[in-house]
């Protein structure tokens, strides 16, 4: 029993060291991300969307979308995808696991006509429809099966050399495809995919601001910084334009976009991150929304050593260290200084990282946001790290364990 305080102190010291190390790495990534963002904004130039819109040299794009219901917002989203601006584009829509009533709703709304296909391989061919509207819409109906299989079904029906994936929870501008197309056209030989994401517009409420801080850090680190290190990962609210040949070389969509990105990097092709305001995630309206966003983000990012340390190891060590420090302090096993150090390594570094993200973004792109909002965002770093962060750690651990 006499050894317990020594052991606990050693464990806590180790946890503090780990947390400080993680914070230092995150700070470095924030600086790198801000520098990349600044570089992008400096090199941002004339908008050639209108020229590209009229050019037959722009490759055709197949936008792939999967729906699992026929709710009005879903149908509205599909209408918006059909109205994207591009010289040649089609929408390949997969209706996955829909009831007959829901399927009929789609058929009626989009004036779908069945297309007869010959069965290939062993099983029957999935039902396919085309729209009699002027829009280029192909619909594939299939039963619900394993993850990302619907995207492979869409790939089979797609006919253009470029594929677009638009996150289901994203807001986007009609010129989205034209903006994403430019980096591909500039270096078709070496660039395999372009991923665009921007921050959501300012919104009111603590949950929205905490959500904005999370998105800001993610955008700077996982987007801008990781892209420059050749490790880009999809971010919630992002849209991806990818060469069909790259998807086929990777053996289809496999286990998701992240897996696809890793395959692309393995073939020594480039992925470009476009931090332009062409698509962005909606800001969370409540804490329930915030948790939902977190869950969604985690579902997109299963596996990988970096995520293992950021999404499981750090939250686990941090939560355990805080609990252990509180219990040990209560039992009188550790000096209050060590308990304070644990708190500081968790909360203090969190605040420092959040304020750094806000300020670095302002440095990269000054004057574009309302000063009042920026100040409120800066101050939100305090409640974010004193309460929400600890809860978030528990959500992350639970989410990771649930798979």
């Amino acid at each position: 029993m006499d050894q317990a305080p020594v052991l606990v102190s050693a464990l806590l010291a180790g946890a503090v060291g780990f947390l400080l190390l993680m914070a230092a790495a995150s700070m470095l990534a924030l600086f790198k991300g801000a520098s990349e963002l600044r570089h992008f904004l400096r090199s941002n130039s004339t908008d050639y969307s209108q020229v590209l819109l009229g050019s037959p040299m722009v490759y055709g794009v197949s936008v792939l979308a999967v729906v699992r219901d026929a709710a009005p917002p879903t149908r509205e989203r599909i209408r918006r995808l059909l109205a994207l601006h591009c010289p040649q584009h089609e929408l390949v829509l997969v209706l996955e696991g829909l009831s007959d009533a829901a399927r009929d709703q789609w058929v009626e709304d989009f004036h779908l006509t069945p297309v007869k296909l010959e069965a290939t391989g062993g099983g029957p061919a999935p039902a396919r429809y085309v729209s009699s509207e002027p829009a280029h819409l192909t619909v594939v109906e299939k039963a619900r099966e394993k993850q990302n299989d619907p995207y492979n079904a869409a790939l089979t029906a797609a006919r253009y050399p470029v594929l677009a994936l638009v996150d289901a929870r994203v807001e986007f501008i009609p010129d989205l495809l034209l903006h994403l197309m430019r980096p591909l056209l500039e270096d078709w030989e070496h660039v395999a995919a372009v991923c665009a994401s921007a921050l959501p517009p300012p919104s009111q409420g603590l949950a929205a601001r905490i959500g904005a801080l999370e998105m800001l850090r993610r955008w700077l680190v996982r987007g801008a910084a990781f892209a420059s290190w050749g490790k880009l990962m999809p971010i919630p609210g992002s849209c991806v334009l990818v060469k069909r040949s790259a998807v086929e070389a990777a053996g289809g969509f496999g286990r998701g976009v992240r897996q696809l990105f890793r395959q692309i990097y393995r073939t020594k092709q480039k992925l470009v991150f476009l931090p332009a305001p062409v698509s962005w995630s909606r800001a969370p309206g409540s804490f329930a929304d915030l948790r939902d966003h977190l869950r969604y983000d985690q579902a997109q990012l299963a596996g990988g050593p970096i995520l293992f340390s950021v999404r499981l190891l750090r939250p686990l060590i941090e939560s355990s260290a805080l609990l252990l420090a509180a219990a040990s302090l209560y039992l009188g096993w550790i000096h209050p200084g060590l308990a304070a150090l644990v708190l500081l390594a968790s909360v203090g570094t969190g605040i420092a990282l959040s304020v750094a993200a806000v300020v670095l973004r302002e440095l990269a792109d000054p004057g574009t946001r309302d000063p009042g909002y920026v100040t409120r965002l800066f101050l939100t770093a305090i409640p974010e790290n004193l309460g929400y962060r600890q809860l978030r750690n528990l959500f992350l651990i639970a989410g990771f364990l649930r798979g």
Binding site: V16, L344, E362, T368
Partner: protein, 308 residues
């Protein structure tokens, strides 16, 4: 109760960590204050610009309509030089001919063109880009071209892609034959985006290009250049004065064959080329090629059965 383990190091580490975090937060707070002040100044300048631009636009409309009165513009020139330039350039793409010349003359008279020429030599990339974009607009006007000299031609070798593109667009407007050739060759490079943008600008010069540089490139035998040329000619979507496409329709490279067949309906082809189309339509190996040949034959009124 036991004694506290590692007391001294814990306190020392606490102080070090606390100081580090405090310094960090303080540093970022100060930086934020500075940035907010800077942002505020930028927003104030932007508000001032928004206030003055409608009046400037109004004055420019009058000048475009033929009014010789430049007093309103000159009145704002000292305090709102950048706004005058921006408003003037906002007419890019919306005016042409005499109206465009009036705007360019105004830019020259106000000393803006010389200022942009100076900025075009700047080492600051942003300033240089902005200047070259503006010069590309005004070089449609001959006196401006004289003021610009060979700056645009030299900028075709700039290290920045954006500047090269702006210079190329400006040179297309200047319509000098040697410059057109340089721009056309630039458009044939691997950057497909530049090709798409320049194809639109070069469309107006299609006749001059087809008389000289296009046949040369098509006969060069360099597959990538030939492919890019055929693609660009098809993108112009207008009648092309080329009659000899037979070697390309029967080229070993499939991409070249396809591109040539896409272009064929836009050309007045000779007998050999027409016969090549018939042969391509009859060939069964490549469905895309034969269907394109079929379309070309139909557009060119070639009767496939009779020829066969």
């Amino acid at each position: 109760m036991t004694s506290h383990a590692g007391l001294a190091p814990a306190v020392a580490a606490l102080w070090a960590c606390a100081s580090l975090i405090a310094v960090c937060v303080l540093f970022f707070s100060l930086l934020l204050i500075r940035q907010l002040a800077r942002g505020k100044a930028l927003r104030r300048a932007s508000t001032r610009s928004e206030a003055v631009r409608p009046a400037l636009r109004e004055a420019l409309f009058r000048i475009l309509a033929g009014s010789p009165d430049e007093s309103e513009i000159r009145r704002h020139l000292e305090n709102h030089r950048e706004d005058v330039a921006e408003t003037l350039l906002s007419f890019h793409g919306t005016v042409s001919g005499g109206a465009r010349d009036r705007l360019c003359r105004l830019a020259l008279d106000l000393g803006l063109v010389h200022e942009w020429c100076h900025d075009g030599g700047s080492r600051d990339l942003i300033r240089r880009r902005s200047a070259m974009g503006r010069l590309a607009f005004v070089c449609a006007y001959e006196p401006c071209r004289r003021a610009i000299g060979d700056l645009l031609t030299r900028s075709l070798n700039d290290s920045d892609e954006e500047i090269r593109l702006a210079s190329a667009r400006g040179l297309v407007l200047s319509q000098a034959a040697t410059d057109l050739e340089d721009v056309f060759l630039m458009a044939l490079g691997p950057n497909r985006f530049a090709r798409a943008v320049l194809a639109e600008d070069l469309r107006r010069q299609s006749a001059a290009l087809c008389a000289d540089v296009v046949p040369e490139v098509l006969k060069s035998g360099q597959a990538e250049y030939v492919k890019a040329t055929l693609e660009m000619l098809a993108a112009w979507d207008r009648a092309v004065p080329l009659d000899e496409l037979q070697p390309l329709i029967e080229h070993a490279d499939r991409d070249i064959r396809i591109a040539a067949l896409r272009l064929a309906p836009l050309c007045a082809l000779n007998q050999d080329s027409r016969a090549a189309i018939v042969r391509a339509a009859a060939a069964s190996g490549d469905s895309e090629s034969s269907s394109l040949a079929g379309i070309a034959a139909e557009r060119l009124n070639i009767r496939l059965k009779e020829k066969q």
